[in-house]
């Protein structure tokens, strides 16, 4: 029994997620790479982005994967730092997932840039301290280095040991810094009222915590085959009480923030602001996100009888993961819908629908994120007794 618990707690090779993830990720990668093959031959002309819609689905994907990566890392590191019972066994898995998501996000960004290889040296060597993108890159790098170091450390020592405390602190600061600067990339754009605002990093933080908690809950349930008996006792407590309760509170905050943004947006007559929210209100996507992806999970998690049910937790988490992606899409695209000085060339809002290749790019990068996670799980797992 103890060997079984140890195996499950480390995300061992017998769990449902381990069995399915690797082949699913490989299949997704193959389909995605085949679907976006044109991009490697004819270039970015297969994307529906350009001078009018600068940042399309590839940027949405990278921003979302980065948000989820930072969110998972923040949730896991806070849990480990404050020695919350039950986080020890799942800490390594969470960090492995954060690594996979960051690699997927960076790949999406890499594929979107006009000169990705040039970016590797031009950004660090030109010291453009005034650019939010520079700082986001700085913090993202600062995030990945301690993340890998921590994963290596966890091979030889248990989570939550005092020796790893300094690294935990650096990791948490880097994750918060990367998340905050990502918020500033948009929040500093005074010419785009839909994005502008000093509180945007906090909005991003709320979203990252929601999706981070949702992924931790989802993954832990799947890694234990939706069976609480396979979990070590502290993890069972964590999944049965602490995590869903915290998710419920954070989700409530995120929903309130979303309502606040929408109400302000609809009320404000500021040009370039209200019109985007009106457009959003008229889209099915927003209602799917809000009612199906945020309110429904909130109700499910608010009912004490359902909150602790692994199947309900998985369903609620999946809905939240999808809703946050839709939210990122609406946010990124919404900020660019208002044409800036185009006159009759663009009489209304800019029209944008992602191309098939863009969707394939998303599939590819998400698959890579899962593949890296699946492989890293094997690499960083300590040999079992």
């Amino acid at each position: 029994m103890s060997a079984q618990v140890q195996s499950a707690s480390t995300g061992g090779g017998t769990s449902m997620v381990s069995l399915l993830l690797l082949p699913l990720a490989i299949i997704g990668l193959l389909i995605g790479a085949y679907g976006m093959r044109e991009m490697f031959t004819v270039g970015h002309s297969v994307l529906n982005t350009g001078t009018e819609m600068m940042w399309g689905l590839p940027v949405v994907t990278y921003a979302y994967l980065a948000l989820t990566s930072f969110g998972v890392a923040i949730v896991a590191t806070v849990g480990a730092m404050f020695r919350i019972p039950g986080f020890g066994p799942i800490y390594r898995r969470c960090l492995t997932l954060a690594l996979g998501l960051s690699v997927g996000g960076l790949l999406a960004l890499f594929l979107e840039l006009g000169h990705p290889f040039r970016a590797l040296y031009a950004i660090p060597l030109n010291f453009q301290f005034r650019s939010p993108l520079y700082w986001m890159g700085f913090f993202w790098l600062l995030f990945i280095v301690p993340l890998v170091l921590m994963l290596l450390k966890l091979r030889t020592m248990p989570a939550g040991s005092s020796a790893s405390r300094p690294l935990e602190i650096v990791l948490l600061i880097a994750a918060l810094g990367a998340l905050g600067t990502q918020g500033l990339v948009y929040g500093m754009m005074g010419m785009r009222p839909f994005w502008f605002g000093a509180t945007l990093p906090l909005y991003f933080l709320a979203g990252a915590l929601v999706v981070g908690l949702a992924l931790v809950i989802l993954l832990t349930n799947l890694a234990h085959d939706l069976n609480r008996d396979k979990m070590p006792e502290p993890t069972r407590q964590l999944m049965g009480s602490t995590l869903p309760n915290v998710l419920l509170v954070v989700l409530a905050l995120y929903i309130l923030t979303t309502i606040g943004r929408v109400v302000t947006g609809l009320w404000s007559s500021l040009d370039g602001h209200q019109v985007v929210y009106v457009n959003m209100m008229n889209s099915t996507l927003f209602h799917l996100e809000f009612f199906g992806g945020l309110l429904l999970p909130f109700v499910l998690l608010a009912l004490p009888g359902l909150r602790t049910n692994p199947l309900v937790q998985v369903l609620a988490s999946l809905l939240l993961v999808i809703a946050l992606f839709i939210g990122r899409y609406e946010f990124t695209i919404g900020g660019q819908l208002v044409p800036l000085f185009k006159g009759n060339w663009i009489p209304g809002l800019i029209q944008y629908t992602p191309s098939t290749v863009e969707w394939m790019l998303t599939l590819t990068t998400v698959s890579v994120a899962l593949l890296v996670y699946a492989i890293a799980e094997k690499l960083f797992n300590p040999p079992r007794a």
Binding site: G43, H44, S45, L47, N48, T49, G50, T51, E52, M54, W55, L113, G114, H115, P116, R118, A119, A122, I123, N126, F127, Q128, R130, S131, P132, L133, Y134, G137, V185, M188, M189, G190, M191, R192, D271, G272, Q274, V275, V276, G335, Q336, L337, V338, P339, L340, F341, K342, G343, N344, W345, I346, P347, G348, L349
Partner: protein, 252 residues
């Protein structure tokens, strides 16, 4: 050192788009990649409507947001006040396009803005985005001059390949002055109603400064703090358009 700026007299501008054409010829831009555009819009409700237009080059701002957001310092400001892109440094992240309040930056790697697709008709050679049969021999990628390479952002340079060779200390670059004609930006030189003026904003004796002072020159979206170096003369009671995003405002 001069601080180059432009004045556009909207009372004189006829909206003929000769400036747009001259710019496209001078800089070999693609269709739709209008570094110097003339924007048409209408005001009022039927039947009381009127068509208006606004010539719009890059504003070469004093404090350009596009420059500040560029993560590689590819967008920079020269000592003579011109905002340029170093195509050898640009990574094509398009953040500058997001940050420019005037929508004057272009990324031509993606779908053609207008048909036919000249990139397909004249495929790029030697790293160029496209290689038309007739090209301006001036090419300087460090200053964003010439046909842009793939994967970078492009924009108006105030014809930097011309103005940077102007005689030191000259107050204005005027097409009517034989001494400065060759250094005058293409859009200014070609403007038939002479609605455009180009000169040194730091020189109190320049024509551009006199016009700004005498005719109360205004700048677009001054509230953004970018402080454009392109001024508009709107005439008595005139104004530059706000270009609202709401179609019901009938502006565009």
């Amino acid at each position: 050192m001069a601080k180059w700026g432009m004045v556009i007299d909207l009372e004189k501008c006829t909206g003929c788009q000769a400036c747009t054409t001259a710019c496209a010829m001078e800089n070999n831009t693609l269709p739709g990649e209008a570094w110097q555009d003339v924007l048409y819009y209408h005001e009022g409700q039927y039947p009381n409507t009127s068509i208006k237009w606004l010539p719009r080059p890059c504003m070469h701002c004093e404090d350009p947001s596009c420059m500040h957001v560029c993560p590689t310092e590819a967008t920079y400001k020269t000592e003579d006040g011109v905002v340029l892109i170093d195509w050898n440094k640009c990574i094509g992240c398009k953040y500058c396009m997001i940050a420019c309040p005037y929508g004057v930056r272009f990324f031509t790697d993606e779908k053609p803005l207008l048909e036919p697709d000249l990139k397909a008709m004249f495929p790029g050679e030697n790293g160029q985005q496209w290689s038309p049969p007739y090209q301006n021999p001036e090419s300087d990628w460090r200053h964003g001059v010439g046909i842009q390479p793939k994967g970078v952002v492009s924009k108006c340079t105030f014809c930097y390949h011309k103005i940077s060779k102007a005689p030191e200390g000259v107050a204005d670059l005027d097409e009517d002055d034989p001494e400065t004609k060759e250094y005058t930006p293409a859009c200014v030189r070609t403007c038939a109603p002479k609605a455009r003026y180009f000169g040194d904003l730091d020189n109190p004796n320049s024509k551009v400064n006199q016009l700004i002072a005498d005719k109360r020159g205004v700048r677009l979206l001054d509230h953004t703090g970018n402080k454009p170096q392109v001024y508009y003369l709107t005439g008595e009671g005139g104004s530059v358009p706000a270009f609202g995003s709401d179609p019901s405002q009938d502006q565009g």
